[in-house]
Each structure stands twice: as C-alpha cells, then as structure tokens.
C-alpha cells in the first residue's frame, strides 16, 4: 500500500504549517513566550519527517511505521498537555500561582504515565491496533477535559486576550475532534477505512492551521470578551 495524493497533500500541508507557526513566533519575538507550543510544533514537524522516511523505507503497512506512528502520536499528545499547562500558567499569571500550576503539570503527567503503564501492562499479551486506538481515545479525552477546564477558567476570570482565547479554542476543537474520531474507531472498527481515516488528516491539519491563522491575524494586543462567545450568550 502506498500513499495517495490526498495523504501527500496533508503531510506536506501539516509540515509547512508546523514550520510556519514556529517562524511566525520567532518573527514576532514571542518564541520563548510560547515555548511549549513551539516545541510541540517542532516535535510534530520532526515526527512527520521521520514518518515520511519510514513509509518510503519500510512501507505504510510495515510494523516499523505502525509502531513509530502510534508511539510518536501518544508522545506528542502528552506533549500537548504541557502546551495546555503553559496556557494555564499564562491565564493564572497575575494570581502568582505558577507553583501550583507546575505541581498540577507534574501530577497530570504522572497520572498519564501511570494510566498508560497500567493499560500497557494489562494488554501486553495483545498490543494490537485496537489497544492503541483505545489508548489514543483516552489520551485525547484527557486533553478535552483539561482544555475544557481551561476554557471555564478563561470565562470565569474574564480573560480578554484574543490571541490566547483563539489558541485555546483551536486546541479544544483539535482534542475533541480526535477524541470523538478515536472513540468512533473504537466503537465501529468497520468504519475505520472508508470514513474515519479520511477525517484524521483534516483534524490533524486543523491545529497548525488555526494556530498559524491566530499568530498571523490576531495581534498580541487584540482584545475580546469570551463571555460573548459561548452558546449560552448566543441564546440570550
């Protein structure tokens, strides 16, 4: 099985957008301010490049590529938790609670590691694709929960920084889309090839695309009232 033009397009698009986000933050002198985000983007670009080389060397259905794909994806997902924690730190900056945020980061990481270890240990006899789908589903769902809590904190604290709000919302869309896709893959394995494999590249391209848009179009000084953005506010 080889890569289709559709796969190539998304691969290239994802890689270019990852690099673009990093270049954009460097050009706007905010690389260090968004360090976890930039490291994640660099990690994704590196993972996409290595994945591309592996498919050419061993093929798309090879064990080498499969292991690399799922392990790198899980690692990058854990890395995204650090991005969320970076956002938490920024939101709670004025409250001087960075010590607690750091502790919470370590706690979340420790819990995720423990949870993953328990699952791997429990399933070591049958480390099948079904298992990695279940693991991905759980990891992304933890991301949904963390991002949702962050969104609630943004609303409660009346955060008005438009860039931060849009970065968080983009992350929320990414996590929830992938958690839903992985849960559907888990529930209906027969849907995987015709429908869900088609959706995963779209969800994967969303995050760098939305972040690239935010860093290009939304200035650091732009302000927005997040309370006006909720479904409840719209209904009122």
């Amino acid at each position: 099985m080889t890569l289709s033009p559709y796969d190539y397009c998304f691969w290239l698009l994802g890689f270019l957008l990852d690099v673009y986000v990093v270049v954009c933050t460097i050009a706007r002198k905010s690389f260090l301010r968004y360090l976890p985000l930039n490291l994640y983007m660099l990690g994704t670009a590196a993972s996409e490049s290595v994945g591309y080389l592996l498919t050419h060397k061993y093929g798309l259905n090879s064990t080498q590529y499969m292991y690399f794909y799922y392990y790198s994806e899980s690692l990058l997902c854990v890395f995204l938790y650090f991005v969320i924690m970076g956002f938490y730190k920024e939101v709670f900056e004025e409250m001087n609670v960075s010590k607690y945020v750091r502790t919470a980061t370590l706690l979340v990481l420790a819990c995720t590691m423990l949870f993953s270890y328990v699952i791997v240990r429990h399933n070591q006899a049958h480390l099948t694709s079904r298992f990695v789908v279940a693991l991905g589903q759980n990891l992304y769902f933890v991301g949904v929960a963390l991002t949702y809590l962050l969104w609630v904190a943004l609303l409660k604290l009346r955060e008005t920084r438009a860039r931060l709000v849009q970065l968080v919302l983009a992350l929320g869309v990414y996590f929830s889309a992938l958690a839903a896709i992985y849960a559907l893959r888990n529930l209906f394995p027969s849907l995987e090839t015709p429908v869900l494999k088609f959706l995963i590249p779209w969800a994967g391209a969303w995050l760098p695309l939305a972040w690239a848009y935010t860093f290009t179009k939304v200035s650091e000084d732009a302000r927005l009232a997040p309370s006006r953005l909720t479904l409840g506010a719209a209904a009122r």
Partner: protein, 135 residues
C-alpha cells in the same frame, strides 16, 4: 460503554469549541464601524444588517478587484454561515428560541462581510489614487 460516553461528550465539546471559535472570528468585526460610503453602496440604514443580505454582500465583495488577504477568513465565515443555515433547518419547529439567535448570528456574519467589503473598496480606492498620482 466508555467509548460511547467519550464519543458523545467529545462531540458536544467539539460543537461548543467550534461554535465559540467561529464566533470569535465573526465577533471581532463588530468593533469596526462601517463607512458611510459602503452603507450607501449596499443600502443599509441603522446599525444592523439583515442576515438574508449575506449572499448579496459576498457577491459584492467578490467583485472587488483588490481582494486583500481576507479570503481565508471569508471562507471560514461562509462555512459558519452554511452551518447556521443547516442548524436553522434542523431546529425549525423543534427549538423555537434557536431561530432568534441563529438570525442574530447570521446578522453578525453579514456584518463581517460588509466590513470586508468596506476594506476592499478602501484598498481599491487607494490603489486607484496611487495610479492616478503616478500619471
């Protein structure tokens, strides 16, 4: 069971985040006031623009020779507007209150395109003025 629960919760979160994300793009244009010239050109009186004007404003914006770098945003708002139309059809008769806020959102989308049109007209005028000055 857990997978089904995760699927439902994630789908609800996706709707909430997606809706808020689209709204953040549209809401930003509300801070910009429309020029009198564009108001006269598109025939608006008052602050509100009818949601039904969206397609006409989009066509007008497409006619501008200088289209600027707002194509991506306009495509996003067009997709959001399409989603609102689908929601309107789905919610008709089932959730009567929904029609009110869907119309409000469609008005915001129309306003967003009017702001883009205003910006494009201003860009075209600037370009024309620069060319005339060159002659």
């Amino acid at each position: 069971m857990i997978a089904a629960l995760i699927c439902v919760i994630s789908f609800c979160a996706l709707l909430q985040f997606g809706f808020s994300s689209s709204r953040s793009v549209v809401a930003a244009s509300r801070e910009t006031a429309l020029s009198d010239q564009v108001r006269r050109a598109i025939g608006i009186v008052g602050k509100q623009i009818d949601g039904g004007e969206f397609a006409r404003l989009l066509q007008l914006a497409g006619l501008c020779p200088v289209q600027g770098a707002d194509r991506l945003e306009i495509s996003m708002v067009r997709a959001y507007h399409g989603l609102l139309r689908c929601l309107e059809i789905a919610a008709r008769g089932v959730v009567p209150r929904a029609a009110e806020w869907i119309e409000e959102e469609r008005q915001n989308c129309a306003y967003f395109v009017a702001v883009a049109l205003d910006r494009r007209i201003a860009n075209s005028r600037g370009l024309l003025a620069a060319q005339m000055a060159g002659i």
